[in-house]
């Protein structure tokens, strides 16, 4: 399976949406999303707006796929609870987890995009 490099970061839309509330649909729309290179999407058989299952060594999550201005092999997610299902709390002794440059695997899925309640349930279950 093709390996991607996951970068998480701030987006303006996420910054705008968070003031309406983190339990709102607009926040989910702007944060439960992964941006990918168009050619990568074609290779994976993914269309804009489709659900995708994302998996790292630390967890998994289902979000919406969207076209982004990214190099091949790179994926970008806004900071937030969806991206953090994929991150590890190992800070290598400095306090800062690895939030950029994670190995990521992506596959199309029929599953619906997880809402914030499902994200919290998954966190509580603690299974990868």
């Amino acid at each position: 399976m093709k390996e991607f490099c996951l970068i998480t970061g701030r987006t303006a839309r996420q910054g705008i949406a968070l003031h309406a509330g983190k339990t709102t649909e607009s926040y989910e729309k702007d944060v439960a999303v992964i941006f990918l290179n168009e050619e990568d999407m074609q290779e994976l058989g993914i269309e804009d707006g489709m659900s995708v299952l994302l998996r790292t060594d630390f967890g998994k999550v289902v979000v919406r796929a969207a076209k982004g201005n990214l190099p091949k092999g790179m994926a970008f997610m806004p900071y937030g609870p969806w991206a953090n299902l994929l991150t590890s709390s190992n800070t290598h002794g400095v306090g800062m987890p690895d939030l950029k440059g994670l190995k990521l695997y992506i596959s199309p899925t029929e599953e619906e995009i997880w809402d914030w309640k499902r994200v919290l349930e998954e966190v509580k279950k603690g299974e990868n």
Binding site: C5, I7, T8, G9, R10, T11, A12, G15, I16, A17, H19, A20, G21, K22, T23, T24, F58, G59, N69, L70, P71, M74, F76, Y79, G80, P81, N84, L85, L86, T87, S88, S89, N90, T91, H92, G93, V94, G95, M96, P97, D98, L99, K100, G101, W116, L120, E122, V123, K124, G126
Partner: protein, 422 residues
């Protein structure tokens, strides 16, 4: 009523030229703010938190009393957040940490904490945003995307403004963006340098080597052609006044504080040739203030523990994510922050298993999940207070409206008073 020169309490730019129109006790319109700032002001009364215990609505008095009970009995509490509240609230939080022997950490630990660690090693040649506006002719944004994170930075402080010695504004400035992807900020650059993810350290040190006259045997370093590094170095050396802006692209990626050390060292060495400074692109509006207030009161900027009655500093040990990962605390007090939305999953899992208290004006995911929620009046909307801009300049944020809830400072003061009196 129109209020001019309002300070925006969102990001480290702390823009202080916002105009707000108030009608019938509500904000009716906002001028000059960026999209995110506009959203903050216009949606100030949406999604507000309310006093609760176990998800059940209670009186404010009961919520405070429950928090006092949890914190008063704790053997090792974690107090976390602070970057979106005032210096006045930080002081109370710190006093509380000392009183109950807690660990106290602020959001720098998952933001520019690695920058602080680098500064311990190298020091930092820095400047104010005013100096940049008035003097800087070469700007290098490294791992930073201000058009999305600090939306008015280009406009107000760095790229576009016409200053005392920069009368041409944008025309008189060169913009370089170094990043792993072509961000919206990079699209506006005169020079975009695309680095391989996790290889900033190599690129920065290659530049340092070339600056010292070294000839590289390789044709490419970290995904960048050596001839492009030479061009970048020539641009840097041509500056009358250059500034490197450090973003999360350096602090959150492999190498972390080593990346920042390399960036600062490059700037130090450039000063043998021409004037260069470094500015960290601080995220939350008072995260710089949180680091400063903890620093001046304890000697340390984040990751501090009071269990022996005096402050001890150990990033990686007393930082929030590490304390949670190792399950070393028995309760968590979150002030004006949302770690449930922003921490890695296994740190959040531990947090949700512990007694969790949220002091927050908004219904964040931390507030939604907390055992005790104490709503407060948002600083910069309902409460005035002091905040530090990303360059360390303190500004007074204004009170625009009345609130029925107390401030973070007042709630923390009340908790302190009751624990002391118990």
């Amino acid at each position: 009523m129109r209020i001019e020169n309002v300070v925006c309490p969102f990001c480290g730019c702390l823009c202080d030229d916002i105009a707000v129109e108030i009608e019938n006790g509500k904000i009716k319109s906002v001028a000059k703010a960026c999209g995110i700032g506009r959203s903050l002001f216009m949606k100030h009364d949406e999604d507000l938190s309310f006093p609760s215990i176990g998800g059940r609505r209670v009186s404010l008095e009961d919520a405070i009393e429950k928090a006092v009970d949890i914190l008063g009995r704790s053997k090792h509490a974690l107090i976390y957040g602070l970057s979106s509240t005032s210096i006045e609230a930080h002081r109370k939080a710190l006093e509380l940490a000392e009183l109950i022997g807690a660990s106290i950490d602020q959001t720098s630990s998952i933001c520019h904490g690695p920058t602080a660690l680098a500064v311990h090693q190298t020091g930092i040649p820095t400047c104010t945003l005013g100096e940049i506006k008035n003097r800087a002719d070469v700007l290098v944004f490294w791992g930073s995307n201000p058009l999305e994170s600090h939306q008015r930075h280009y406009e107000r402080y760095s790229l576009f403004p016409k200053g005392m010695f920069t009368p041409e504004g944008r025309k008189g400035r060169k913009l370089v963006v170094v990043d792993v992807r072509q961000t919206p900020s990079a699209k506006m650059a005169d020079m975009f340098i695309k680095v391989n993810p996790g290889e900033d350290y190599e690129v920065l040190n290659a530049l340092r080597y070339m600056l010292k006259g070294g000839e590289l045997a390789a044709s490419e370093i970290g995904g960048v052609r050596v001839e492009d590094l030479r061009k970048l170095l020539d641009v840097m050396l041509s500056a009358k006044y250059g500034v490197v802006f450090i973003g999360m692209g350096l602090t959150m990626t492999r190498g972390k504080y080593h990346n920042v050390e390399a960036a600062i060292s490059l700037v130090v060495e450039l000063n043998a040739h021409t004037r260069w400074s470094v500015v960290a692109m601080r995220g939350h509006y008072n995260v710089k203030g949180a680091a400063s207030s903890l620093l001046w009161q304890t000697g340390y900027p984040f990751g501090i523990n009071f269990s022996l009655g005096y402050p001890r500093y150990s990033p990686g040990e007393y930082t929030a994510v590490d304390l949670l990962r190792r399950k070393e605390v028995d309760c968590v007090l979150v002030i004006a922050s949302d770690p449930v939305a922003n921490f890695p999953r296994d740190a959040v899992k531990v947090m949700l298993e512990l007694p969790l208290i949220a002091i927050d004006p908004k219904l964040s995911l931390t507030a939604v999940s907390a055992d005790v929620v104490i709503p407060t009046a948002q600083v910069g909307i309902y409460v005035e207070g002091t905040a530090y801009r990303m360059d360390g300049v303190p500004l007074r944020v204004k009170k625009l409206l009345d609130s029925s809830y107390p401030s973070d400072e007042e709630v923390l003061g009340e908790i302190l008073k009751r624990i002391k009196g118990a």
